[in-house]
């Protein structure tokens, strides 16, 4: 009886851990897909003219540098997040959770979730898109993804400080291995780095900080809120703030009040909108599995698995824009280098170090 209970407990613990890691890894893959489709969307229709700095629509003047860098980032982030918010609400509706969604909004944990959305949405996502766009302009969209992946280290450290989550030596080593491999994946692109890429890296780092904070606070919040409701609150709040506040403010700063309806109108009537709907579809599990994975296996491990998007991001950018040649600019998106593939393997080793203590495995082997 005792032995049977012990066996069942071990099985259950293993199953739970495996499930948490699966969620966290899946979130990284969806993250890569969302980044790939977002990059793609910003090359299509009127977005292509905007970023090329040419006349657009019916003889509108080319956009100025401020608008291209900041306003378009807020618009793209807002469209993406609002779409993913709509998808997340659809999932809640399917699970008949809309009542709980509404009630949760009005409670304290619900408001904490909205605070996370403010930092992770308008702040971090816009920084991420600014970074992505600057790096794309300099010819190396992959370079900023690993820098944004620093959020796993920042999240683990904040988790230690704010919530006293354990951070043992092997986890710290694992985090460093992950960071080193992330640098290796992006490293190839550093060689050709121009001033645009440097600007991209600075904004990617700001995004990493915002998401690091969000990952540890929101991941913790999901113990009180179902993760499907949590993500719906997060994406709707982020999308609305980006579109209703960040975008108009930046648009007015860059081109006056008239540019608000002009840009928004052009964006929502462009066929690229459909691609934003797809990037939003992948952004939903990217964030919700991230929350879920973090709360099931701890911030450090959850965020490290999620951080594998340092590899998935460039991979899916290459597949959608390079291999599949959607957008017709395949030559601009060459295959991944061997350094990037090796970096991915090293990252898996780093994640393994965070998940299990290698010294304990050695000790167990010796006992047997």
């Amino acid at each position: 009886m005792e032995a049977k209970v012990e066996t069942l407990r071990n099985q259950r613990r293993k199953r739970f851990m495996t499930r948490g890691i699966t969620f966290a890894v899946a979130s990284g893959i969806c993250y890569g897909l969302y980044t790939g489709f977002l990059t793609l969307a910003e090359t299509q229709g009127v977005w292509g003219d905007w970023f090329a700095g040419t006349e657009w629509g019916n003889g509108h003047e080319a956009l100025n540098a401020f608008t291209i860098t900041f306003t378009l980032a807020a618009l793209a982030a807002g469209l993406n997040d609002l779409f993913s918010g709509i998808w997340s609400i659809a999932v809640c509706a399917k699970n008949r959770q809309l009542g709980d969604f509404w009630k949760t909004l009005k409670t304290k944990p619900g408001r904490v979730m909205m605070l996370c959305a403010i930092i992770g949405g308008p702040f971090a996502t816009i920084c991420y898109v600014i970074g992505l766009n600057s790096a794309t302009a300099s010819g190396s969209p992959g370079v900023i993804v690993p820098i944004a992946a620093l959020n796993c280290a920042i999240g683990a450290i904040l988790g230690r400080i704010l919530f006293k989550q354990e951070l043992k030596a092997h986890k710290v080593v694992g985090i460093f291995v992950c960071l080193a491999s992330a640098a290796m994946i992006g490293g190839a692109s550093f060689a050709t780095m121009g001033p645009d890429a440097l600007l991209g890296c600075v904004f990617a780092f700001l995004a990493a900080f915002g998401w690091g904070f969000e990952g540890c606070v929101a991941g913790f919040g999901t113990i009180l809120i179902d993760y499907r409701i949590g993500i719906a609150i997060r994406q709707v709040t982020a999308g609305l703030l980006e579109l209703l506040i960040a975008f108009p403010v930046l648009a007015i700063m860059g081109g006056g009040i008239g540019s608000v309806p002009e840009l928004l109108g052009a964006a929502i009537t462009s066929p690229a909108l459909l691609i934003f709907a797809i990037s939003g579809l992948f952004a939903m599990p990217a964030y919700s599995f991230w929350y879920k994975g973090n709360s099931m296996c701890g911030t450090a491990l959850g965020m490290a698995c999620n951080g594998m998007y340092a590899f998935w991001g460039p991979l899916f950018i290459w597949i959608t824009l390079g291999v599949l040649n959607i957008g017709g600019m395949s030559a601009d998106y060459p295959p991944l280098t061997s350094a990037q593939w090796i970096g991915a393997i090293v990252m898996v080793i780093g994640i393994f170090c965070i998940a299990v203590n290698p010294l304990e495995i050695v000790r167990k082997k010796q006992e047997e």
Binding site: M1, K4, V5, L8, R9, R12, F16, G20, N95, R96, Q97, D100, K103, T104, T107, K108, P109, F163, K164, Q165, F220, T222, I223, L224, I225, D226, I229, S295, M296, C297, G298
Partner: protein
Amino acid sequence: MTSKLPLYYAIMRHFADGKPDCAEGVMQDLRTDYGSYKLFTRKDIEEALATAKENGLLNECDWKLDAEGELQTFYAANDFGKDMIRRHIE
């Protein structure tokens, strides 16, 4: 009760008094109010409890085998958990 708490809040509040219980116990207590919820299943509730344990709100305190030979895990809120529940849900 005029306005029910969201299901996940109700599950956590069940442990507010510090008494240990398992997923079946939670379900018995909440069935009247939440029985019609799509996510009111033993699997979903066990996962919520295991997640709360992983996050340091609940401790595992006992294990039994039920009539079908399935493992029943009993949880109780620790001081940190009781404090969180008191401050954030009520």
